[in-house]
Structure formats: structure tokens, C-alpha cells
Amino acid sequence: MAEFDVDLAAARVAEQAERAGAEASARFARSGPVVGKASTDAIEVQVAPGGLLTGVTIHRSALRHGSTVIADQILELAQRATRRAGDKMYHALSSVVDAEQLETLGYEPIPDDDPDADTYSYGR
């Protein structure tokens, strides 16, 4: 069995990543940092690709609903924002990176008729 050359493999991965990274950063330079946002009347949530919270704004009117309701709403909004950030990442990177790899990273497109889609307006 051929010996697995760790250094070579690492160099190859690094080179691939660098190439994809250069193209991706050119894209992001045009579009600005990718974020996902979701909000209700009283709570706004913003996440980074992957879903890490980067901003939560809770208006005073939401506070009277109590902590459990607020926590549930933030969780729900965070999940929607995460899907939206994943959708943006998918569209930004799909020409540079395999769709399968993007899905492994959790970046999947949201169908237009999905209630989580940014463009979804049916019934609103």
C-alpha cells in the first residue's frame, strides 16, 4: 500500500482551499460579509454563515411576553436566519465549490416557495 504522504495531502488541500478562497473572497468583496437575518415585529436576529448569532435586538414590547416565549422566538428566528445565510453562501459559492461539499457545510439553497425564503411573500 502506498504510504499516505501527510505533507503532500495537506499542501494539496491548502492549495485547493487557497484557490477557492481567492475566488470566494473576490465574490464576498463585492457582496459584503454574508449574514442571515430574520425578524418579527419585536425581535431581530442576525447570524453568520453556519448559524452563530452575531446580533439580537429585543424591543421592550417583547419583554412582557416572558422569558420562555422570547427564548422560543429567538431560537426559531435563529434557525430561519441560519437557513437564509446558508442559502446566500450556497449561491455565492456554488460556482466555485461542489454542491455536495457546500451541503456538508450546511449551505443549502432554500426553495422560493419555502416560508423561510427571503423572497417568500405568499399570505403576508
Binding site: 448559524g51 446580533g55 421592550r60 419583554l63 422569558s67 429567538i74 435563529a78
Partner: protein
Amino acid sequence: MARVDELLASASGTAHDLDNQVEATVDGRGKLLRLWLAPSAVNLGDRLGPLVVEIAQAAMREATQDGYNKVALLLGEDMTFMIEQMTGMPAPARAEDDDPGMTVEEFQRLRAERLGSAPAAPSSASAPASSEASGASEDEDAYWESFDPASLRSDR
């Protein structure tokens, strides 16, 4: 490599604030999995939102460390360090200001303190230790042969 993805995806981290008003759990990529707010958290007013973000980010550091801990068990320290370099995301435990935990000496000193006057030197009886050990393992075998797992049931 697929196994590494799987391990990193299964990582999670939980953090809470000092007053135990906010507790968040996130996965290895930072996605919020659980959020708990104490009833008193609503009294924080405008500060609640930023606090939730701060706790989620602390949980993310825990999740990152958890992921690397799992990968290190599979691939070893060197490969894990290489992955950290490639991802550009060093394990939080490597941070300069990370709590270094306790040293072996400190652990042994605290243990000795905890045990107080309990027999402190089993090593002084090292000569008969081997025969004792084999006797002990026989006892243990006999114990496990007659062990009834049903005795662990909580309804008995």
C-alpha cells in the same frame, strides 16, 4: 475525512452567564440548538439581546474545543493540530489566556488534602502487591460472574 466531518458536526457546546440568566447550546458551526432564559432575564431590558449573543459565542468556543477533542481521539494530536492550522481556527484551549487547569503536582496535593489522614502510601507495600493484585482480580471475576444487572434497576 468523512468521519472527521461527522465528528465535527456532532460537536456541541453550552455556556451560561455568571448570573445563570441565559444558557445557550450551539453546534460545531455555531447554530443555536437550545436557548434558555431565566424569568428574571426580561429585567435586563436592552442588555438581554447582546448578552444572548455573547453567551452563544462563548458556547461556540466550547463547541469548537469539543470538536477538536473528538477529532484528536481519532487522529491524534499532530493531525488535529494540522487541521487547526488548515481551518485557521485554533482550539480555544491553546489561547494564551485560557485557564491552564491544574498541574499533576497540584492535583496530587489536593487529592492528598482531600483524603486527609487516609492511608497515603500503598507503594510502601510494593512487594506483596503482586500477589494481592492477582487475588483481587480473582475476587473481581467471582463478583462479576455472580453479578445480577437487574440489581441496578431503580424500581427495586
